[in-house]
């Protein structure tokens, strides 16, 4: 897939109907219906994802990550946007103005550091996902995170050997 480098003022939208998402208890999950790929976003990336869906630019979203220095926040958001574009999960928004008041709540100052840096995990083996027993074979955080293998310490096994935790920075 070809994509242009994201810019701070660029606006994006979910690449629907091929891509669908839902925020479950503050964490966005995304499916690429064509490939069956599953993406789990951490709370910080979920906030960025939802604000992107509202039509906010990367610059405006960077302000929501108030715990980071502005330049770092912008770089982090642009980095995530670039990854989402590369995965084909979002596309440049065709026209339209930014909403006057986004329906997604911005975190209050002081909340942002707790969210951490935005990151997502990609699960590209659909059969593996479907076969994973969500009670007996999963980590404490639940499906689709596998239970750590014996001897692997506390580090969970990588969900996608080809592309482990791509957006973590």
């Amino acid at each position: 897939m070809t994509y242009s480098e994201p810019t701070g003022t660029g606006r994006y939208e979910v690449n629907s109907p091929a891509v669908i998402s839902q925020t479950i208890d503050g964490e966005a999950v995304i499916i690429d219906l064509g490939s069956g790929y599953y993406y789990g976003l951490n709370p910080s990336a979920s906030l960025v994802w939802n604000l992107l869906g509202e039509g906010l630019s990367a610059l405006a979203i960077a302000e929501a990550l108030a715990g980071l220095p502005p330049a770092e926040a912008e770089a982090v958001v642009l980095g995530l946007v670039a990854e989402l574009l590369k995965e084909g999960l979002i596309r440049p928004r065709a026209g339209g103005e930014a909403p006057a008041a986004p329906s997604v709540a911005f975190p209050r100052p002081g909340d942002a550091p707790a969210l951490g840096k935005p990151a997502f995990t990609k699960y590209s083996d659909m059969q593996d996902l479907l076969l994973l027993d969500p009670i007996h074979e999963v980590a404490d955080s639940g499906w689709p995170q596998k239970k750590p293998e014996p001897g692997a310490g506390n580090r969970p096994r990588s969900p996608d050997a080809n592309r482990a935790e791509p957006a973590k920075r």
Partner: protein, 418 residues
């Protein structure tokens, strides 16, 4: 309904295929509100080993997660339950995506489609793809166009699990599977009990419009769906049939589905009831007289009566007293009672031969008795998807052995069905 051999007025029968006490606690934890749900959850947690959960209970876990989340529970199990919810959302999204393409292909071929069970209950009543796990997708097409529909499915990469033609001649539906393992049940009759001409006419007549991922189709109307869910739920299944309870309550807008009554406390207020013939604002309008007509005309009074009483007694479902009283007064023939008793017991059951004969004979009411009798072996061969008559004794012996194994397993597990 009158005549000899009738057993008149037997009110408040106990539901034969009733959830076990543990399943009932889980249902209450999933469906009730406030302290009632918390109490039920605590009791269920204390009595149940999550590692040895039966599959029927497992299918309730996403709903349990949603209820615990609404209640602000901090139980450590919640994270795993959330995972089950996520997995359900994921698998249902993939299934709905595939099914929408199939429905589109059928509709473009000029075949009307009507969805029921999860494919219709989720978008219309649960309104959340993560709440109700689905194994397959159920599509009803007009009876006379079943073969055409099967061809459309096969052109789109779905293959029948068994010989389609033998199933069309003997059953209400046939299972199809896609290359990536998704499953669809193609129905040409809604109920296995009613495979005769015109049996599905009211269901088509009362169907409501439904958009499946943007593809226009139809779904069973609320009253028909409630009727179907209750009849289906009253039957014995390999997977314990407990999900019919939330399905029915979702249609009725009862318990946690009752948006109009946030303070509703079902278990603590057994007297809670909707006025006969009216539904509270926000609930689905149910044509109760239509359900009564269906129950009588399809000879399914017993399953409807037992399940309605259960929903009302245990979950305070908003079923009008007048409906229960009318069902209680309705007479039931001995043969209908026998059919219900056999279908509520672990299968395969030797009595299923009798049930098969009765359903077969009902579907061929216009046929002379000798032709009906002579045609029965052929019907059985088709029903069992056998190529030759000589295979039939082996099939029966295999089924009897399966029954013996099932009964041994049931005895060993103290009645649990894993």
């Amino acid at each position: 309904m009158a005549g000899s051999g009738r057993d008149v007025h037997r009110p408040r029968e106990r539901l034969r295929c009733r959830p076990t006490p543990d399943q009932e606690l889980l249902l209450q934890a999933c469906l009730l509100k406030g302290d009632d749900a918390v109490r039920a959850f605590d009791l269920w947690r204390a009595r149940t080993d999550i590692d040895r959960l039966d599959h029927g209970s497992y299918r309730l876990l996403p709903l349990l997660y949603a209820n615990l989340h609404d209640l602000g529970s901090t139980d450590p199990l919640t994270e795993k339950l959330k995972g089950v919810y996520r997995r359900t959302w994921y698998t249902n999204q993939l299934l709905f995506h595939r099914a929408a393409a199939l429905v589109q292909a059928l509709e473009e071929a000029g075949l009307e489609t009507l969805l029921f069970k999860g494919g219709a209950l989720i978008p219309l009543h649960y309104k959340d793809l993560g709440l109700r796990p689905m194994g397959d997708f159920d599509v009803l097409v007009p009876t006379e166009r079943a073969t055409e529909a099967a061809r459309v499915l096969q052109r789109n990469g779905w293959r029948p699990r068994l010989l389609f033609e033998t199933q069309r001649l003997s059953r209400d539906c046939a299972g199809f599977v896609s290359g990536d393992g998704q499953e669809v049940d193609l129905h040409w009759h809604l109920l296995e009990e009613c495979c005769y001409e015109g049996a599905d006419q009211p269901f088509w007549h009362n169907a409501v419009p439904l958009s499946l991922n943007g593809i226009p189709t139809r779904a069973l109307g609320a009253a028909d769906h409630l009727f179907y869910v209750c009849v289906h739920g009253s039957r014995w299944k390999d997977v314990p049939p407990v999900r019919w309870v939330p399905d029915a309550l979702a249609i009725l807008g009862g318990c946690r589905f009752d948006a109009a009554d946030p303070g509703h406390r079902a278990a603590a207020e057994p007297g809670h009831r909707a006025a006969a013939g009216r539904d509270a604002p926000g609930r689905n309008a149910i044509d109760w007289n239509h359900i009564l007509d269906l129950a009588v005309s399809r000879r399914l009074v017993l399953p409807v009566r037992e399940t309605f009483n259960y929903l009302r007694d245990i979950f305070g479902a908003p079923i009008p007293s007048a409906v229960l009283e009318t069902l209680g007064r309705e007479s039931v023939t001995r043969s209908d009672r026998a059919v219900h008793a056999i279908l509520s017991r672990p299968q395969p059951h030797p009595g299923y031969f009798i049930v098969t004969w009765l359903f077969y004979a009902r579907a061929r009411r216009g046929m002379g008795a000798p032709r009906r009798v002579l045609g029965f072996p052929r019907h059985l061969r088709n029903l069992w998807s056998l190529e030759h008559y000589w295979q039939m004794p082996g099939y029966v012996i295999g089924k009897l052995a399966e029954r013996a194994r099932n009964l041994r397993a049931l005895t060993a597990s103290g009645g649990r069905r894993d």
